[in-house]
Amino acid sequence: MVVTAPIPPCLRQPPSPPPREDLELLLLIRHFELTLLRLFEAGELSGTTHTCLGQEYIPVALSPLLHDDDFVLSNHRGHGHFLARYTEPHGLLAEIMGREGALCAGVGGSQHVYHRRFLSTGVQGESLPVAVGVALKLTETGALTCAYVGDGTWGEGAVYEALNMARLWKVPLLVVVENNGIAQSTPTSAQMAGSIAARAAAFDIPHHRVTSTEVGEIRAELAPLLGVVRGESRPLVVEFVTHRIGPHSKGDDTRTPEEIALAAAHDWYARYARDFPEHFAALDLAARERVERIAAEVAARPPSVWERP
């Protein structure tokens, strides 16, 4: 087990805004998700969706740490994972809206996207065995497989079958746990005995806990650990302590106002808006307008066409 204490506040760099491209990506994802909720309210989207509001910094932090030949597996809450991997918002929105130019012809929708070296699927825990299979193929190539899961995912037996073989067979697998403290409506404390760290330890898999929400800090923490995953071909569990500030899907948040306020207090968006108002406001407006243009353009497209195999 790797134990890394968070950097004490007294040693932190004086507050400075994140690099422009990071903030642009964070804001793109934020406004993409907000736009989805708005489109749902307007009755312009069908089905369901799960937004990553508040958690955008995780895939953004990981983005430059992942290489072109790495393979990313994602889950039901995967829009941010995708946009940080491949910044193709038109294709993703077209997929969600069932419009021309959709990444998967509108068949997969929000939860089932396979594009280049990114694949998401909607059943909890299902992706980890698949990730071990892909990682077996990548062993000793220097590439890794990155699989995003949530805290709720750890209720699934498939997780443990996969971790067992990942360690036994020493595959380059990075498991990113977005522990937002709530599985749909069930607090983690009511659905998980013990801890993710102890579960990883049971398989002799290193575990690293990230509490920072600053992409620069997170990268500095994780870069050497990912180097070990690649260089020594071994699995790693990175657990992000994070907060979902929006609902599980849409309008289904059963948390108290106090709990929601507590989650919102961790939001990078409000923090940057407060700490770097001028720098932030211009980029925020630009991202908002960009996503509005994308949404208008995609909504005007004809329906997607699926040629059934």
Binding site: C104, L119, T121, V132, N164
Partner: protein, 328 residues
């Protein structure tokens, strides 16, 4: 003489030798054990890390096989007893099968899941089933079964060429039987392979009284029934044994069938036979003289004690009496 298990073992050796992309995963498949039914003997010694004995994790090994397939390789996963395929249902149905289509384009998933199936060996309720029916009608998932007529190497090639997950059932009693070769079953019966379907017939009989359709593991019980019907009741039967169970291929020779009977080891209700009848009834409606007969195992768990098990699973006597009765 080659036993079916030896033939399968040789086919796996040939396949792994010819194609370095092929991986084999399963419980206790490595040497010196070589698998619960010895079908994988010698493979780990010869092919090293491409053959992996796994933990008891049917669901995950099916998923790992799918992951290898997605990443450009090919995987064969052995489920020690077909009953345990239930543990891999999510990976097979919700991931491997769906992945071939749910991303809006054809995604190749060359994955073969080998499932030793069937009873008559006294293994009891959880090690004796023929669970084919639970996997029928899943988009993107094909079902095959080993027969004593087909070449296993050709079947593996065919399944991989489909580029979609395939369940491959191998009857445990069939493992111990010899393969038929050169068109000869025995002194009475001949066979030919037409479009992947084995047709067994009595030489000179062009208009059989009944056509039996069975899966590979039922072959010998069907042949025993056919012999008795011919010798003792003067009823001539033809037998069709498709290696592909789902989707059902075109079955030869049925246009002149006077009666069709589907026989299987799965338990009654929601059966493979019902699927065969669904496909055949519209096609044969104008020529059939009576509804297609379905013979399956009883609606029951499969007991361990041999005298009890025998009563539940389909035996040759039951086929014989059912055919004689319907034709009388």
């Amino acid at each position: 003489m080659t036993r079916v298990s030896e033939h399968l073992n040789r086919a796996l050796h040939d396949l792994m030798e010819a194609d370095p992309r092929v991986h084999l995963l399963g419980e206790d498949i490595s040497d010196p054990y070589g698998g619960a039914f010895k079908v994988t003997k010698g493979l780990s010694t010869r092919f090293g890390r491409r053959v992996r004995s796994t933990p008891l994790s049917e669901g995950a090994i099916a998923g790992i096989g799918a992951g290898l397939a997605l990443a450009g390789d090919r995987a064969i996963v052995e489920i020690m007893f077909a009953d345990f395929a239930a543990l891999a249902f999510d990976q097979l149905v919700n991931f491997a099968a769906k992945s071939t289509a749910m991303y809006g384009r054809k995604v190749p998933v060359p994955l073969v899941v080998r499932c030793p199936s069937g009873g008559n060996r006294g293994y009891g309720p959880t090690h004796s089933q023929s669970p084919q029916k639970h996997f029928i009608g899943v988009p993107g998932l094909s079902l095959f079964e080993m027969t004593p007529f087909h070449d296993a190497g050709e079947l593996f090639a065919l399944m991989f060429a489909l580029e979609q997950p395939c369940l491959f059932f191998e009857d445990k009693v069939l493992y111990t039987r010899r393969r038929y070769e050169d068109g000869v079953v025995d002194d009475l019966f001949r066979y030919e392979l037409t479009d992947g379907v084995a047709r067994v017939f009595v030489d000179g009989v062009t208009e059989p009284d009944c056509t039996l359709i069975v899966h590979g593991g039922m072959t010998h019980r069907a042949l025993d029934a056919m012999r008795a019907l011919l010798m003792e009741e003067d009823v001539a039967c033809e037998l069709l044994v498709p290696a592909r169970l789902y989707p059902l291929p075109t079955l030869p020779g049925l246009d002149r069938a006077r009666h069709v009977c589907v026989v299987e080891d799965g338990s009654e209700g929601g059966t493979w036979g019902a699927e065969v009848a669904r496909v055949l009834h519209p096609r044969l409606w104008s020529t059939l003289r009576r509804p297609i007969s379905l013979i399956s195992a009883a609606d029951s768990v499969i007991p361990a004690a041999p005298h009890l098990e025998r009563e539940i699973l389909v035996q040759s006597g039951r086929i014989r009496h059912a055919v004689a009765e319907v034709l009388s």
